[in-house]
């Protein structure tokens, strides 16, 4: 750490207010051009959004600005000075910080410990650091207590810690890659308030999102990227989200169709009195959950992340051996079954964390097609893997779900986040499941692909698919579900008819604002 801690405020006499100037940035990966001649100016004291289809090259561009990837061509200027960023610590030295979509916090440490980790030299690890954290938190309205344990905090707070971490290291330019994907609307509003504080203090904020309405509500300027190249940069108040979407895709968007109910009275999944104790002895993770889903029905589960969604899904998938209660699939008791038996019985599973649970990142796409379906057609021939069959079916998924990839031998790691998600959805929808457990099925996919995935799900529902849908996106929940149940602190606290519930009503039920008093 020998950087000469430049003070960007003082040295910025050259260029008036452009904090970041990217010129002609190019980056090629095996088989794809991720960035090509990208030009962007981000002014100080503004929020600059970057939008584009899945695989357009947004994350790659930000990784270049953060020193994670090296550009093949082009120049970066920060506050008017040309710089070469060859590592994140370089970038931080120049006042650039990045918050990744996957948080990097240690659960069993306090906020203070997490923040100072790796930056012990700045303000020490004791009271100096504590004071500094309080200062930053107060200055930007982050509301963070240095001595809280990270394990006890929700997603929104964790994200604010990540932002604080970046500020603590002296960042004046903050990059957020899809920060809102994991947040419920209230948390999104809070985050945006924080971002406005940052910009009021003269920082530059760059953020990536697929939710165009959000983008327009918070950003000052929007840059659209298509197939690696900048299409245009427009002031946020001069476009509509429809126009943005059309700029992104280069054509008009298909409009989503309205649907009639297809719910039947044939029960597919019945869960009765599901309990899951907390291994650390706290409040039960799942507390007396009962629900049923019929053929052709989508049951939506609303809730702030961390209220038991992950546990509910994993219990139904047989990944939580401590869970007690009855689980019936097509009238057969499956409570004692292994995960594999449940999958074979016709449960498709879109996990919430695609990197940890959904993919083998270092395996090619076609092997990822086999994952989770390695005992079934078309992937097997007797005791052997049927490479031909699996590869052909992967080609089909790539085609039908518009997975943008140089080929099916590409490693899953090399796909953009949204394209990884499309591959998983396509895989789980194949082999005609009778029940689909879908946790955030469209997380990180662009608007066009989101509509396509919704169509796929709706079509399967018409053919009798039952779906348990977990989502942080209330529009998705309301648009797809036949019934919505709210999960709060491990309990189902109410059901709503999506036909006449507003996001506001759902939101307050999710945060417990309308909840009766807690049972001890």
């Amino acid at each position: 750490m020998s950087n000469t801690s430049t003070d960007p405020g003082a040295s910025a006499t050259g260029a008036p207010d452009v904090a970041v100037r990217l010129r002609g940035i190019g980056k090629t990966f095996p088989g794809v051009v991720a960035n090509h001649d990208v030009d962007i100016d981000v002014r100080r004291g503004t929020i600059h959004a970057i939008v584009g289809e899945n695989g357009a090259g947004k994350s790659t561009l930000m990784k270049i600005l953060y020193g994670v990837q090296k550009p093949d061509s082009g120049t970066i200027e920060l506050d008017g000075q040309p710089v070469v960023l060859s590592s994140p610590s370089d970038a931080i030295g120049h006042g650039v910080g990045m918050v990744f979509q996957h948080f990097m916090l240690a659960d069993n440490l306090t906020v203070l410990e997490n923040v100072v980790l790796g930056a012990e030299k700045l303000h020490g690890i004791g009271d100096g650091a504590r004071t500094k954290i309080r200062e930053i938190s107060a200055a930007y309205g982050l509301g963070i207590e240095p001595d809280d344990l990270v394990a006890d905090l929700g997603v929104g707070a964790r994200q604010r810690i990540e932002i604080l971490k970046v500020l603590y290291r002296g960042a004046r330019i903050i990059i957020l890659d899809e920060p809102t994907a994991v947040l419920v609307p209230q948390e999104v509003d809070e985050l945006f308030d924080n971002l406005r504080e940052l910009k009021a203090e003269g920082l530059a904020v760059i953020f990536i999102s697929h939710k165009l309405d959000e983008v327009l509500s918070v950003a000052d300027e929007v840059t659209v990227i298509r197939r690696g190249a900048t299409v245009s940069t427009v002031p946020a108040d001069s476009v509509t989200s429809r126009q943005l979407a059309e700029l992104m895709v280069g054509s008009e968007l298909p409009s989503p169709s309205t649907e009639l109910s297809t719910v039947t009275d044939v029960e597919v999944l019945e869960v009765v009195d599901l309990h899951l104790p907390d291994a650390r002895g706290g409040r039960p993770l799942l507390d007396g959950i009962s629900l049923r889903i019929h053929r052709g029905e989508i049951l939506g589960i609303a809730g702030v992340e961390g209220n038991g969604q992950a546990e509910l899904v994993e219990a139904i998938m047989g990944m939580r051996p401590d869970a007690t209660g009855r689980i019936e699939l097509n009238d057969g008791d499956i409570a004692g079954w292994s995960t594999r038996e449940r999958r074979e019985a016709g449960i498709g599973y879109i996990p919430e964390d695609r990197h940890r649970q959904g993919l083998l990142l270092d395996a090619p796409l076609w092997e990822n097609r086999v994952l989770g379906h390695q005992t079934r057609e078309p992937n097997i021939a007797g005791p052997f893997i049927d490479r031909r069959g699996a590869r052909d079916d992967t080609e089909r998924i790539v085609r039908e779900y518009d997975v943008r990839s140089p080929g099916i031998d590409t490693l899953a790691r090399a796909l953009s986040g949204g394209n990884q998600q499309k591959l998983i959805v396509g895989r789980e929808m194949s082999s005609e499941p009778s029940l689909l457990i879908a946790a955030h099925p469209t997380r990180g996919v662009d608007v066009g692909a989101q509509a396509a995935i919704w169509d796929h799900i709706k079509r399967a529902r018409r053919d009798g698919l039952a779906v348990l849908l977990i989502s942080a996106d209330l529009d998705e929940l309301i648009g797809l579900s036949d019934t919505i149940a709210v999960l709060l602190r491990g309990r189902l606290v109410g059901t709503f008819d999506p036909g006449d519930v507003t996001p506001q009503q759902l939101g307050s039920a999710m945060t417990g604002a309308t909840d009766e008093e807690e049972t001890a």
Partner: protein
Amino acid sequence: MTGSRMTRIALALAAPALALVTAFLITSLVLILAGDDWLGVWSQILSWPTNRTMVNIVNSATVYYLSAVAVAIGFRMNLFNIGVDGQYRIASFAAAWVAGEALLPGPLNIVLALLAGMFVGAMWAGIAGLLRVTRGVSEVISTIMLNAIATAVVAYLLRKVAVREEGSNIISTKPLPEGSRIPGIPFLGGEIYGFVVIAVIVGIAYWVLLNRSRFGFDLRAAGQSESAAVASGINVKKMMLVTMLMSGAIAGLVGLPLLFGQAYAYGSTFQSGLGFAGIAIALLGRNHPIGIAIGALLFAWLDQQSNPLQILLDVSPDIVKVTQGVIVLTVVIAYEVVRRYGVRLEQRHVAAALDPQFQQKEVSA
């Protein structure tokens, strides 16, 4: 397409070649610093072996091969079986003892002894597997300890079993009956172990099982990402245990070429240390059955060709241990260097191929 295939093969060979050159340079440096006749050493090692040495190379490579495959099975599932050494010694003893008892006639006795060896090897490794699965004990630690315990157990049991032998100061198990030896295969005027055939079968079975079967898919998936494996329905704990058992079973074969083709009994002079060479060779061969075969031949070549160094040049043959060690270290680095170079090469290719197309798009947009 064939062009890119050729490039891929060339790149695959570049890494080991790079490692060999580096190892050659470093070994030479050591020799020069020590004031030894470094040119003489290399001209001996790189000279074409005599027929007799060639036979020894093949024999020794057979043993190394089995050892490396045993280690590689564990590697594919992210398990570090350092205990191949203890597993093969205790298994060889068991096989020798069973075979010496001659419970069944002729060839059947061989089969019985092979099975006994594989079974004991599997069980010994299974202890480590069980500790890992039930108690979370790292297999690295437990297999190292089990190596030490195996030494003691074999010494103790050998004394018990060998007591009945008379008139010799080397204690060993009862020698195999004539009919239970595996005949050699004529080769360059000498004979190589008949066990070579079994080693080849093991290599093929390893490849088919790991790369083509459903079971192998589960094993590799569990090795790559435990959490994704669990979500896909794999019982990861069972997989760990089974992998350890398989690794141990193959380890149980390691000493048997010696037993059935040369020593005909397990005694206190039975060759040890073969398990550690296996780790190095598995790394060198990247867990690939052919790569491992080449690595095993290379190690065996260095071993056998360095034997006369003491007499010819007054240089300790241990110098090739330096070479072998450096190869293993550098091969890891070399693979990474070559991989990066390959990525750069491909990037240039793609950029060149796509650029005109891109310019067109820009104009039309």
